[in-house]
Assembly symmetry: C2
């Protein structure tokens, strides 16, 4: 399970245009520590002299650095290296089918339960204050070969996605169905570890108390809740990877 052999340091690439060269140069000064947090970056005017270019070119580079959060720009004062930023990592969320494929195992999917119902108080806990009136609740199992890879507990707002009542979800998982049907504007993920209890433990066919990686995803489209999904990955066979990428 501890397949840590896929570790590789990243590589730099050559800049192609002037503004990218300026951008790389400055970012280099920052990430190398030569320009510590609080350091005042040369004024745009000074950089135009240094690189012998127009202010717009310098501005393009500095603007990108600014809205990627590496520097802060203050009128009249100049541009400054930002405090060591709360390190942000990008978590790439893929379809479960892709995860299984990546393991080289055959993927299969079954629907365990499906129920249309009115929403209850407990649902508002999961979907937020603007909880829809009607819901579709499902439990699904994703297999990697013979192995139960993930148990999915899913709520779909029938207010936001009325078409879902016409879909059986017998052969197609709700995730890929939704992603091609409903545009989404925001998603939030909560990740934690939990001991498996029924019905999760029975569904996954693991002993009670088996540690599970839980990923809960809430999705909104234009401020309206669309869906809630809880993915239960049993044991230690699954790990999420998040990479920091400057810019």
């Amino acid at each position: 399970m501890n397949d840590s052999s896929i570790i590789d340091a990243p590589e730099a690439e050559e800049p192609t245009s002037l503004y990218q060269r300026i951008l790389n140069d400055i970012r280099g000064q920052i990430v190398s520590g030569a320009w510590p947090p609080g350091y005042r970056i040369p004024f745009e005017h000074e950089l135009t002299v240094q690189y012998d270019c127009s202010r717009m070119t310098v501005n393009k580079a500095l603007s990108q650095l600014a809205n990627s959060g590496l520097i802060e720009r203050r009128r009249r004062s100049g541009s400054f290296v930002r405090a060591p930023r709360g390190q942000a990592a990008v978590l790439e969320i893929t379809d479960i089918r892709n995860e299984v494929d990546a393991l080289g195992l055959p993927y299969s999917y079954t629907l365990s339960s499906r129920q249309e119902r009115r929403s209850r108080l407990a649902d508002a806990q999961l979907l937020g204050p603007q909880c829809p009136k009607k819901l579709l609740e499902m439990t699904c199992l994703h297999y990697a070969g013979q192995l139960a890879f993930c148990l999915e507990q899913r709520l779909i707002s029938l207010d936001a996605v009325p078409d879902a009542v016409d879909e059986s979800f017998q052969d197609l998982a709700p995730g890929p169905w939704l992603i091609r049907r409903v545009p989404w504007s925001t998603a939030e993920h909560r990740i934690r570890s939990e001991a498996a209890k029924p019905p999760v433990s029975t569904g996954l066919n693991v002993a009670d108390g088996t540690p599970c990686l839980i990923v809960e995803r809430r999705t909104w489209s234009a401020d309206e809740p669309v869906t809630f999904a809880r993915f239960n990955y049993p044991g230690e066979l699954h790990s999420l990877v998040a990479r920091f990428k400057p810019d």
Copy 2:
């Protein structure tokens, strides 16, 4: 533990400049689904007419959309809405002290063990192929009140950070020490769930088999491995949050 009351849908904000208005308009068309993947966005020239502005203004908006991955630009052909992107979420990695503070509990820290040594084969598994020769290995405990909140297992490359030998780490955790001393260019996080075993279970004072959330972080500076950290969060009291943010 399931403190799900901190759920709120996001809000839109008003554009301040023309290019931001263009950017928001187009992004709106895309995330609302009105312009599906593959749709050809109006040419820059058409947009300059529509918004009555110069091409540079349109270009600034489209460029940002392009390098945030929402659209793809092809010379001579135009700009196209990209395929439903691999959903990416941003994981905000904070100092453990901040996490404890956020819970409203008093933070304290102790160093359990500290050892300078030559690197072994097993270390290359963790730090990658360019494993350093000399290492500093530590085990630390982070408390939230009386509760063991997190057990940290830490390796620091003494090749990359020779200064670390002079630091006792008795009162300051390696994380904040490193972050203000060593600039880093890349970080990778692996997140999984695991049953606690000795020495982790004994260090955290929890029963063997207690599910733990494991966050492993590898950090490089200029392609050289700097540090490896494994954070063991026992039980279900901790959860990571990752938010999708368009742009």
